[in-house]
Amino acid sequence: MRLNHLTAHELKKKMIDKEVSCREVVQSVFSRIEEVDGNVNAYIRVEKDSAIKNADEIDKKISEGEGLRDFSGIPIGIKDNICTKEIATTCASKILENYTPIYNAEVIERLNQQGYILTGKLNMDEFAMGSSSENSFFGPVSNPWDITRVPGGSSGGPAASVAAGEATCSLGSDTGGSIRQPASLCGVVGFKPTYGMVSRNGLVAFASSLDQIGPFTRDMEDCAALLNVVCGHDRHDSTSLDIEKPDYKSFLKDDIRGTKIGVPKELTVKGIDPEVKNAVDSALKIAEDMGAEVEEISLPNLEYALNVYYIIAPSEASSNLSRFDGVRYGFRNKDADTLRNMYRKTRSEGFGDEVKRRIMIGTYCLSAGYYDAYYEKALKVRTLLIKDFNETFSKFDVLISPTSPTTAFKKGEKIDDPMTMYMCDVCTVPANLAGLPAVSIPAGLSASKLPIGLHIMGNVLREDNVIRTAYALEKAIGFKNFPKI
């Protein structure tokens, strides 16, 4: 088994046992990057020299008998909308192509304390807007399982890199499914924590009330360990929860007897790929065999979740992206002779089409005369949805559905029709709207060897139920495949 395909916990053991050096681990990953990233394009920027240097320092620590933390010396990729001090952070946009942050995101500070190895900055849909990672100024990301297909989005780079062995784990961000959907399409684990559990300080904001950073890993054990690192209160983020953080690893129990699993019928949409449906049904059967109680349920307002999302997210985004104007950082059109021209040319040239579309929708929904009918109304429907979930979770421990209605689609297939692309998010957006923790774990492969993802959602701050259910099913399903790239 190649080093770059091992999990973090396996690597940690090997490094502690001095079976391998950190340098070997890191070099294995970079060799892999050199081998495949020409085709995958998961990376916008690779940080090899500093990685090797840091690896040597870890090796020195090991030789001096210092203990290793869970992610010491582990090669981790970071989605390029998370600020890394002095390392360019572009959000896959021309408008930030040369932006170098002057501070680290909180999650980066926490990873630094672990002594992690930054492999590089990962490719994505521009400003996290998209479900295919085709909207990137640096070219689209390809799915390692089939490079003619998309890896999902917006965290395509983080998902693909872990799937292809170009990183042991990675961090992505999730606003409407941007961690879980690519995890599903790439056959890896992707987790979105309860809103407020991970600091948003240093995450370039897309939709402030929906965004969360979360891990991509190969298994639930690594996932829980990485949650232990990134979750926790941060005084720089007013929306960060100031509560005692559990040890997420303690929820890795292989026991779902008596767990009540709800299956919302609104999430089995028409147009769902029958292979996806079968994989989910099999997983539910396995769950029942393990002693869980499975029941189909209905959440009356769930059918409006996607509409609500596509009002709230673009509205907040239209305001969050106003700061990109060429004045203080980033790209500026230097030909403009007046301020307004400079704003308009900079933003029109600097943003891609999807970003501009969403800014337009959001600006419209907030504008005079439309605010009440769109934004205000959406907030109210969101309240109803949250009520639905509260009621549902008083009776059920987790809700299960497919993560994505389809497996990875071909590049270019949905890019011309925004509405079709938006439909990819139907199973994932509810978790963002209600701030619920949710994970996608691999449930199997389709006949054409494309991964299928299983979506498990829990109540607010009930990561315990989600992790436990995911861990138990992961073990039972036994997905141990790698793309043949």
């Binding site: 009002i311 419209y364 969101r382």
Partner: protein, 94 residues
Amino acid sequence: MRISSDDVKHVAKLAELQFSDKEVKKITPQLDRILKHIAKIRAVNTDNVEHVSLIIDVKNVFREDTPADTVSQEDALKNAPLEEDDGFKVPRID
């Protein structure tokens, strides 16, 4: 049509974006389709519903009035597309 090309031009102005006539022609039906779809929430009865703009039940988050986190002038200007006299230069305001 929910949105006309004049609407598009007006919204673009608010968002400091510019579109050529060709682009306006292309984007208007796309936006219209999206707006038609999201407007479906109109069907939901939201009488007497207080909206929640924040999911988490947190209140009164403060910082104390003590200096912290200031960066150097060099860092402040580091990414400036055009710097002059220790400030950010912008073209004539119209």
